[in-house]
Symmetry: C2
Subunit: 498 residues, 2 copies
């Protein structure tokens, strides 16, 4: 044994990029997940819980020409040398499960999943290597009704967790419409879909830069290219001026209402069968959510949404919070995206060779919690327990009887379990616990059949100064009540504070 | 790229020893965890959620003379070559957290934690490499009140999840009493606690074999040793006959009531200060739970409990279910242990050099679920959704309106999203979903302002034989109701079935 190594104490530190969650951080997330899954359940989605660990083969992250699986996942070798890894999302396990059990699962299969996922990435401020996802997907339905259902459920879910109507918008787009535009400008050949992939990538990135570069900058990138302020030149997609205007038209296709937007898009993709199909799907989804009573303040056909367009194969949806929050530097800003999804029709093909249509949504639970906190709408801080102090350590049974009575009445309560010799320590403890009320019963109180109740909210600022039980009793935030009125009086005191 | 490797499809299979949980398996566990944590919360325990990943250094499983961390954990190297691993229990992360944040945490710190843990062990039937734990621990209190509180909470928790009083027993023992016995028989020297460790191990194993070997077999193992039926010889602990009788006396110390047991134990450890201290602690815990109104049908001082005695440093508790279940071979058997815990006073010492007293309990959630299922007390199967069938795919909006009305009334409901052309498929689907009611609205029904409701529980056995909508309508389990009575009539039908 290497003695010197043994002598060194281990560091009490989580690995880089991981964090711990305490108290209300845990319960606020649990409460949010419960509200979300309640909506998913009402829509007929069934829970699925897979393990954190998958084979690298099933995850599909294995690069055959390197020894180790792709960076991006946490992976290791099992005893038999096969590679295992922590899941990086909840969609890859769904694909594996659907392929594995497809003969036993209902078809279509609506499932939801909640849990942590892991990314082997460089951690940064607010970026963690383990975080929660909360997904709902419908596998086995090509119907636009499935997309419309996911969209409606997304809106219901946001409202269920406390985002009011008017504070969010779900934007709809469709990869097929963009593909149609690419076809019209000559960058996509349905007979040879791999051709021009690089130029299409330039167009996508150009569209995504509209906010930053403005229309002229995007035009330059669609054409020959663009020189930025530093003098660096970015090559363009090489479109003609006319073709570039078709792409610009797509970005600006949003009309006065959904009908006008649809008409604009239909005009742009004339001649592309796939593009027209995409416009039909958008129209159908918009009609279906409108028929269910959702308004234009909730859903918007918005061709400028390109995030995720590279991944999805059909409709794409993205939920944004529209209220302003104040960032850490005190500046107002939009909170932005909290959920997104879309249709991905090649989910199971890797496993079975057979394409299976699927559509789904993923809610960024941690982002949504941050948004609610920023908006001041987070659930109230978890209530601290009533603390029964220990004045006489031989009478622990009496104090435990008190906490039992309080608990039986539905109140959170605990007896002080540290060294009871210093009464000040007990009050400090109650303070750390954010306790609303401390209960005191010394020998004198016991003899007279009473207890002292200390209103800690009221008395907080005085607590630091006091040392002895007698001094403490003189404070105004303290009352004496009959022992048998303990529960009723504690309840009153808490009600007053709350 | 290695083409031949790419050509092979990945297997849709979870890694060996891992499993998936579907539908009611997930919700039953969630419901149980919610009930358990509600009790923990009422006792003033705060939730803590750490990441699945810890440094191997913090977990303490690193063997310095080998390249790889100990088998037993799943471990891998980070980019900077430091070792990380999946946690194997919830206690090691608690130790790390307490050492890391000890200046900010309340003292004593009561915390609960719920979540999966991972073991890199050979999987076997019913043995998985990921499973749930649900722990509650009090760190920083040496008081027997802390142990008594954990014991009381354990009993309350079992009753909260549906184990009736009388169907479980919490057995109490104390490592210090056993150590006292070892001292009396000359196998433990308080001045040199490492001496005789091997012989103490033989005694512990002998005690644990009482059920199998009987008293004479145990006596032989305590003495010179024992030859089994196959002729193999097991070396004994080498105790004299008198000393062996002291150990036997410990195993049989259980008296008519707790007082008698305590008196027996006190007699056995006369002369051992540590042993007497252990007996005092047992007495104190017993008194405290009795003072709270728990009965001898719930708690038992039982020196024969040795499981965990090697790990814990003071009081040990173990909850057993006492009812019989039928095993997979149809034989009746006791279900056995579902939770255990005890005091371990060296939790944080590895990190800080300072011993911190701690006591806690771990509930085997999956075992408890299995017990409730075996007892037939598991929460009812999750309710299947009402399925609205699609008779006319152009009227998807009408069908989505129906599911919305049903959901708004608190009913789980979904529209059929597969290919609607074959009506039989839709009924099969509803069957797979364990749907209580199917709703049908063809063009004829629409024109007449009615819908058909199919009672699927009633009509299940006929479903397989029918092919057409007309034939289906003739079945007795189907009724026609006005469209605007949809919700009320579905509700009635479900109530009838339930």
């Amino acid at each position: 044994m290497a003695k010197d190594r043994k002598a060194r104490r281990p560091r009490a530190q989580q690995p880089k990029g991981f964090r711990d969650y305490f108290g209300a951080e845990v319960t606020a997330r649990s409460a949010m997940l419960a509200r979300i899954t309640q909506v998913y359940d009402a829509y007929g989605f069934d829970p699925l819980e897979t393990s954190a660990v998958e084979t690298v083969e099933a995850l599909g992250k294995f690069l055959p020409d390197v020894d180790r699986p792709n960076a991006g996942v946490f992976a290791w070798q099992d005893e038999d040398d096969s590679w295992m890894a922590l899941r990086y999302d909840l969609t890859a396990p769904l694909a594996r499960v659907y392929a594995q059990y497809r003969n036993d699962l209902p078809s279509p299969y609506r499932r939801y999943a909640v849990g942590p996922v892991w990314r082997n990435e460089k951690p940064g401020p607010g970026r963690f290597r383990q975080f929660y996802q909360c997904d709902a997907d419908t596998v086995g339905s090509a119907s636009a009704g499935a997309d419309a259902e996911i969209c409606a459920m997304l809106a219901d879910t946001l409202e269920a967790v406390g985002i009011a109507r008017g504070d969010y918008i779900v934007r709809l787009n469709n990869r097929k419409v963009l593909n149609g535009v690419m076809e019209v400008v000559g960058l996509l050949d349905p007979a040879d879909p791999e051709a021009h992939a690089e130029r299409r990538g330039i167009v996508l990135r150009a569209i995504d830069k509209l906010d930053r570069l403005g229309l002229d900058g995007v035009r330059a990138l669609l054409g020959e290219g663009r020189k930025d302020e530093s003098g660096d030149f970015t090559s363009g997609a090489g479109l003609s001026a006319d073709a570039a205007e078709v792409v610009i038209g797509f970005m600006q296709a949003r009309g006065a209402d959904a009908g006008a937007t649809i008409a604009n898009l239909r005009g742009l993709v004339t001649g592309s069968a796939g593009g027209s199909e995409g416009v039909d799907e958008l129209e159908r989804i918009g009609d279906l959510v409108a028929a269910q009573g959702y308004g234009t303040d909730q859903f918007l056909v918005d061709p400028s949404v390109v995030r995720g367009l590279g991944y999805y194969t059909g409709p794409v949806y993205e939920a944004e919070l529209t209220f302003e929050i104040t960032d850490e530097k005190g500046r107002p800003r939009q909170f932005g995206s909290v959920a997104g999804g879309g249709r991905y029709d090649d989910l199971v093909k890797r496993f079975t060779g057979q394409a299976v249509p699927a559509t789904g949504v993923s809610i960024g639970v941690d982002r949504l919690l941050a948004a609610l906190a920023a908006k001041g709408r987070q659930a109230a801080q978890a209530a601290g327990p009533v603390v029964v102090t220990v004045m006489d350590r031989e009478r622990m049974a009496d104090y435990q009887q008190m906490v039992r009575e309080l608990r039986d009445a539905g109140l959170r309560a605990e007896v002080y379990l540290g060294n009871p010799n210093k009464f000040g320590k007990q009050l400090e403890y109650a303070d750390t616990r954010q306790s609303p009320v401390a209960v005191i019963e010394g020998g004198d109180e016991k003899a007279r059949g009473v207890v002292q109740l200390k209103d800690l909210a009221l008395g907080k600022r005085l607590a630091a100064e006091m040392e002895t039980h007698d001094e403490w009793k003189s404070q105004p935030a303290q009352i004496e009540v009959p022992r048998d009125a303990l529960v009723a009086e504690v309840r009153k005191m808490i009600a007053r504070a709350g």
